[in-house]
Subunit: 376 residues, 2 copies
């Protein structure tokens, strides 16, 4: 193997792969990055037990020559090491590997010789032959993931809750995440008649968010068995799926309400964030939302050690009964509000013991539920 590659491009790709590579493994080759040089350019692969990422560096990018392959071949190199050394180089990088997998890297006056592994011993990615793929702009799917992923369960008691559920129904994709105390649900129209549902590990979904490619890039999604393949022009992600029975979420979202108030989203988020400072001692972040009158809401919290905070905010619009008093986990509420981009947010109340509904005002495609805290 023998090739030249542009430094900034290869070091970006390697640092992206390095993040998913296993840091330390009994089998050293598993913490490596596989490099394949062919007449079409370079292909680099790295991964862990949940996800593998394959990145392509073509011969030309935006009309500029970035790779020159002098001799085809392949090798595996320790990810931590190649990542670190590439960061400290600049200019053109010349990589050579001999039949013993000894690698020689040269950049200007700097020469390195490092041991490599035989690429044949690197695990082969399973092939997925599913017929039906869904194609979506990367920006759209990123947004749907960002609007739900924070609500996944952070502990492994119910593994299926640690992932984001993707439900394909004719003409739409629904993303759902829940940790039993809160739920986030986002619905997108898609040009597909696919009908299936699966749960993707949160870590794999994060890798989709981390993709550096333009929002307009098309991401194709393909599922078969317990594997999910997501692919753009230069990147292929192969993730396992989480097996298990996902709780039924249909019907959880109430169709009516006792009262509904509309508030400034950003102001509410800041107010609840402040209140959280005062409610940390029990690790509960209990924050009380209480309607003072039809035009004012009070956000408050208190703790014996730290004292109390109270602030009032204007209600923009109100429908229904005057009673509205609920104690919530303030951190959940802040995260829910952060997922919303719109200026105004609607909060629907169905009694102090029922979950509240949080959604952008005048929209039903993005809905969140948060269960109240019992305070006694």
């Amino acid at each position: 193997m023998n090739f030249n590659v542009d430094h900034s491009i290869v070091s970006t790709v390697v640092s992206e792969l390095h993040k998913v590579c296993i840091a330390r493994s009994v089998i050293p080759i598993l913490s490596g990055i596989k490099i394949v040089a062919s007449k079409n350019g370079l292909k680099l692969t790295g991964g862990n037990s949940e996800i593998f990422i394959e990145k392509t560096i073509p011969l030309e990018l935006n009309g500029e020559k970035v790779v020159e392959v002098i001799e085809e071949g392949s090798v595996v190199v320790q990810s931590k090491f190649i990542n670190e050394i590439l960061k400290k180089l600049s200019g053109n990088v010349h990589v050579q590997a001999d039949l013993n997998n000894a690698i020689r890297i040269q950049s200007d006056e700097v020469v390195m010789k490092i041991p490599g592994f035989c690429a044949e011993e690197y695990p082969k990615l399973p092939e997925v032959h599913a017929q039906q793929s869904v194609e979506l702009p990367l920006g759209t799917i990123k947004e749907a993931i960002q609007q739900t992923i924070f609500a996944v369960s952070k502990n492994d008691v119910k593994p299926v809750l640690t992932g984001v559920r993707m439900e394909f129904e004719k003409g739409k994709l629904i993303c759902i995440a829940t940790d039993s105390n809160r739920m986030s649900r986002c619905e997108l129209p898609i040009p597909s008649e696919l009908n299936k549902a699966f749960v993707v590990p949160a870590a794999s979904m994060l890798e989709v968010i981390n993709l550096k490619e333009a929002d307009a890039t098309i991401l194709s999604i393909l599922q078969e068995g317990n594997l999910l393949v997501m692919e753009t022009e230069h990147t292929k992600l192969v993730s396992v799926l989480i097996e298990g029975n996902y709780p039924v979420t249909q019907g959880l979202i109430p169709t009516g309400y006792m009262s509904s108030i509309t508030l400034h989203r950003k102001a509410l988020q800041n107010g609840v964030d402040r209140a959280c400072v005062f409610s940390r001692e029990l690790k509960h972040n209990n924050v009380l939302l209480k309607l003072c009158d039809r035009t004012t809401i009070s956000i408050s919290s208190s703790s014996t050690e730290m004292g109390m905070i109270e602030e009032r905010q204007k209600v923009v619009h109100m429908v229904g009964l005057d009673s509205f008093e609920i104690t919530l986990d303030g951190k959940y509420l802040v995260e829910a509000l952060r997922g919303i981009k719109e200026e105004f947010v609607e909060i629907q109340f169905n009694g102090a013991m029922k979950p509240i509904v949080i959604k952008p005002a005048q929209s039903n495609t993005y809905v969140q539920l948060i269960s109240p805290r019992r305070t006694h």
Copy 2:
């Protein structure tokens, strides 16, 4: 106590003080910030066992009114808490404390009530009455500290080596730091005939570097017994000094050399930094500098696990014998080079078993020594 203060100013001051406050203390008041409101403005104090910092917020700053004192008084408030809550406020902050030290903070529509402590119970800073103070521009003293502090010892075996030694001799100030394997020495001309020497804890020196005031601000330095007071217009630092016998460093710096080479400082620093990647396994960072001929130097390192790296750099200027081959801790060398601002650096060699001298070319006021590594 009752005052109004500009949010951005008070939150900057509190966050600076918070960094030196003890995080958790058996005596809660010791992890607090003392606030004194008087007709001249506010005075805030925080600290730990090594250093106390007192910050003044005057009634006016740059012609703008920033404090309005309605009623004089004082109180102590938990530092962690006040720091966190101030970050989440904006605009004008109104602070009131009653006779029971209960504090009420209001900013716009946000009201907080928090418990405080009696300011009388906060430790009183010792007074220093030394007659002779030295006055220096803050920027100058910051630079001298930055050029030496990295060389202090990182372990407590010899406590006196964990500090920066300041030696005042007639007309000059010498800052020295050493951990026995390397030494950094910086000399400044000063308009003072003071003659004394003391060792300041590195943590206190860092607080001088962290001061946000302009480089031209005058810092006055005053020492008495085991205390050092450093003061600018709005900040007063009171630090303990480290007692003990500082090693004699005079005479350590060789007056001649076998050979001397001048190199590009930044290129050398990058080269040694790269070489360090390959020499990490023994925690030794062994890097070999070797003269190839009178115009070229080779920087190399190797490890059985990682392989080897070698690069060549041009020698800008060379005096003396052709023999130059020494193994050093590359990390020490990188830190030494980072302290130098000049474009070219001179390295003086006195044999493979003697320390090398590193200094800006054509200057003798900033000199560093690094002992070689024994490789066998």
